[in-house]
Amino acid sequence: MGFIIDRNLYVPEIDAWIDPSEPKARAIITHGHADHARSGHGAVLATPDTIEIMKVRYGEDCAGQFQGLDFHEPLTINGATVTFFPAGHILGSAQVLIEAEGQRAVVTGDYKRLRDRTAQPYEAVSCDLLITEATFGLPVFQHPDPKDEIARLLKSVAAQPERSHLVGSYALGKAQRVIALLRDAGWDKPIYLHGAMTRLCELYEALGVELGELLPATGMGKAEMMGQIVIAPPSAIRDRWSRRFPDPVVCQASGWMSVKQRARQALVELPLVISDHCDWDELTVSILESGAGTVWVTHGREDALVYWCRQQGLNAEPLALPGLDDDGGEGGE
């Protein structure tokens, strides 16, 4: 049977690519992380939030033209209909439903099912073909409740009032989520930001996500930073930039932090298992809920998820998409 999307995520019916890694004439973008949203496309179709994020990151003219499409609004082009559904990954992140020739195909992009007030909540979408990510596609990944992880951070801050806590978080999505979780846990002191975080936090606030008082982390005295929480990119927390803080506790907010050997190797003193992706159970539940008879797996540990799908009697295969690396990259967590 032919599918309405090919294995490079190209949709022939409307001549458009989903999350292409190279500049294309027409692109549909699921969300703003760099391994999904690149600059230089001719025309971009995305949610309004994602378009704002792309403009902040790459400049107003990072694509020839933008077309915003709200969640749940079907858009028919030629013989195909495109509809966005929330993916729950970061602000504006969408799953893409394509309907044509009586067939429904969903590209999940990155997604998670846990509640997160910085992203529109995930919705299950039924389909015939599901193209799912598998960043945490191994049964060893069982994400804990992020509230418990934030409680561990706050406990550590209270126990070591003479030190700064530096929380390594990606600038888009993770940083704002960690801040929101801290606020919801009752942390009402200012939260200090590395310069790389500022513009995206401002954008989230402008789009209606309240983050409380945020101050630049640079230019403060060591004494003032005792007992404070700083959010910075993972690359900065162990490098020269961190020397300005008093005896910093290196923390990292990531789904990878559940593997203690990894945390040790990365010299992380306080690992916080906070992920913006599905864990194993969420992935498998989502696949079953979609009702899809065919599953293509991409972005991560495809083998295990493909194996599991086949055990359930589903057609499944891994997609090897160019330019999407699983680890380390920003979209990887």
Partner: protein, 523 residues
């Protein structure tokens, strides 16, 4: 159990030694008996849950998890215990029992029942408790905490000297109620049989050329400084034990020694390997040290022996208060009474004045690769620790080589934002091949300069490692060089450290691999 899991996680992830000790002190102070004693036994590897082996845990998990998914997960995580802890698929409401109840349960459950019991425990645990539970059950902690660190925490917590704790340690059993009572001042020091216990060692101080003016050579005796590991042999009524210098028992690795020793007493000496008391290199000894349990083939090829240089107990009699000369006479008499096949006596080096001894030291280094000589005050009693003025080590001058910096890696703890671990190499034809790695020998100021230089001269990055332009020369000091398959150069240095940074020296003038042959010959 939650408290213990938190402690293990902190110990595993905190780079600072001081903070590890603080955490241990807090734990031992706040947690009641017998749980804290069980924790101490686990941390010092004195606890063995006999029936729980990794294979049993694996089978328990495979009854619940698909084998292919388990294998893929294990490939990814890389550590069996951690894979088991992370992959366990069930979560029941409940709390794990305390540490001592848990250990009792695991020790008193029949092998047939164990999988069910362990499965139940894993289900009751939170994820990071599962990690601690697996570590506890298999006894393989691997969290970078030594028995000595745990004992150091006990010493700091109580104000009692570490040596005193080590002295009673081997007579005690978990959960160490009498030890904690003593440490907290509620009971007298536990009374233990000397024959079963380790006695802290007497250590030496380095000596400099200028010190000799104040010392009369007639007051001193000299011996070679042997290049093995320091051991204590305790021969009591119940048998023979051998301990490392920190009091860890290593008898199981060296049955060829402890099984063949005759007599009673406590001896101090150097563990070496070789046939007919002809000591081979430290490298060869290391092959035996790396084994927890000795292997037959190795014992044939690398038989171990101990070169004895002191005696603490003659039979049951404590002779540590006697002077060295009297102890030596007792030792020689004891050897005459007890014929040995795995012990020999460290020879006394006759010398007239310090110049004589200096010449001997250089000759020993050049011809036999000796590390140097030991100088001992004839009247000195055997005093644990590092007393001043009694024993001196006079090391031969270090070997030095000019090597080129190749790679730099970030350090740990306070140095984690600095490139402080350096791999350096020498010329082999037109390329530079690595010969070693060092992370000390420079000042804080020099570290800053090096860090800056490395960042400005990086040619490639691999995770935490940077490759740099092959332009900076280090003068590297080291104790000896060995042939080794570990480095591409085929050479490995023992105890290398940066002695000078040669900002002035062009890399072309650094040493060549052929230059290293001179050092290989001496050992």
């Amino acid at each position: 159990m939650k408290r213990f899991a938190d402690l293990l996680e902190l110990l595993a992830l905190t780079p600072s030694r001081t903070r590890k000790i603080e955490a241990l002190k807090r734990y031992f102070t706040e947690v009641p008996d017998p749980d804290r004693g069980i924790a101490l036994a686990v941390l010092t590897s004195e606890m063995d849950i006999r029936n729980v082996k990794p294979a049993l845990l694996r089978d328990t998990v495979l009854a619940e998890v698909d084998e292919t998914l388990f294998r893929l997960s294990y490939d990814y995580v890389g550590d069996l215990g951690e894979t088991i802890a992370l992959i366990w698929p069930h979560k029941a409401e409940g709390e794990l029992p305390g540490l001592s109840v848990l250990v009792d349960l695991l020790n008193h459950t029949s092998k047939a029942e164990l999988p069910k019991v362990i499965g139940g425990l894993l289900s009751q645990a939170a994820i990071h408790e599962r990690w601690a539970l697996v570590k506890l059950a298999t006894g393989a902690l691997r969290i970078g905490v030594s028995a000595r660190l745990a004992k150091t925490a006990l010493a700091e917590m109580s104000g009692i000297e570490l040596q005193e704790i080590e002295e009673v340690w081997h007579g005690l059993k978990p959960p160490y109620g009498n030890l904690f009572a003593w440490l907290e001042g509620k009971a007298a020091r536990p009374d233990v049989d000397h024959a079963a216990r380790f006695h802290p060692l007497m250590l030496s101080n380095p000596i400099e050329d200028k010190d000799f003016d104040k010392l009369d050579p007639r007051d001193f005796s000299a011996e070679w400084k042997w290049d093995g590991i320091r051991v204590q042999i305790v021969m009591g009524a119940q048998g023979v034990s051998m301990f490392s210098r920190t009091g860890d028992e290593i008898s199981a690795s060296f049955p060829d020694v402890v099984g063949n020793v005759m007599g009673q007493g406590v001896l101090d000496g150097e563990l070496l390997v070789g046939h007919d008391f002809d000591a081979r290199s430290f490298n060869d000894l290391q092959q035996r040290l790396n084994r927890k349990v000795a292997q037959g083939k190795q014992m044939l090829e690398l038989p171990a022996f101990v070169r004895i240089y002191d005696m603490l107990f003659d039979g049951d009699e404590d002779i540590r208060a006697l002077g060295w000369e009297e102890r030596r006479a007792r030792l020689e008499a004891w050897f005459a009474r007890n014929r040995q096949t795995r012990l020999d006596l460290s020879e006394i080096l006759p010398f007239g004045d310090w110049n004589d001894l200096g010449a001997l030291r250089r000759q020993g280094a050049d011809e036999h690769g000796h590390e140097g000589v030991m100088i001992k005050l004839r009247t000195a009693p055997y005093v644990p620790g590092r007393p001043k003025g009694f024993w001196f080590k006079w090391k031969r001058d270090p070997n030095v080589v000019d090597a080129v910096l190749m790679y730099a890696q970030r350090g740990h703890g306070k140095r984690s934002s600095y490139y402080s671990d350096y791999t350096f190499g020498v010329w082999k034809g037109n390329e530079i091949v690595p010969i070693g790695k060092a992370y000390f020998g420079f000042t804080d100021e020099e570290l800053k300069q090096l860090d800056k230089w490395i960042r400005a001269n990086t040619t490639g990055s691999f995770g935490p490692v940077r490759e740099v332009k092959k332009e900076l020369v280090f003068e590297v000091a080291f104790d000896s060089a060995q042939k080794s398959g570990r480095h591409k150069s085929g050479v490995a240095l023992r105890f290398p450290r940066i002695s000078r940074i040669r900002w002035d020296k062009p890399a072309q003038e650094a040493a060549r691999l052929e230059d290293m042959d001179a050092f290989l010959g001496a050992s």
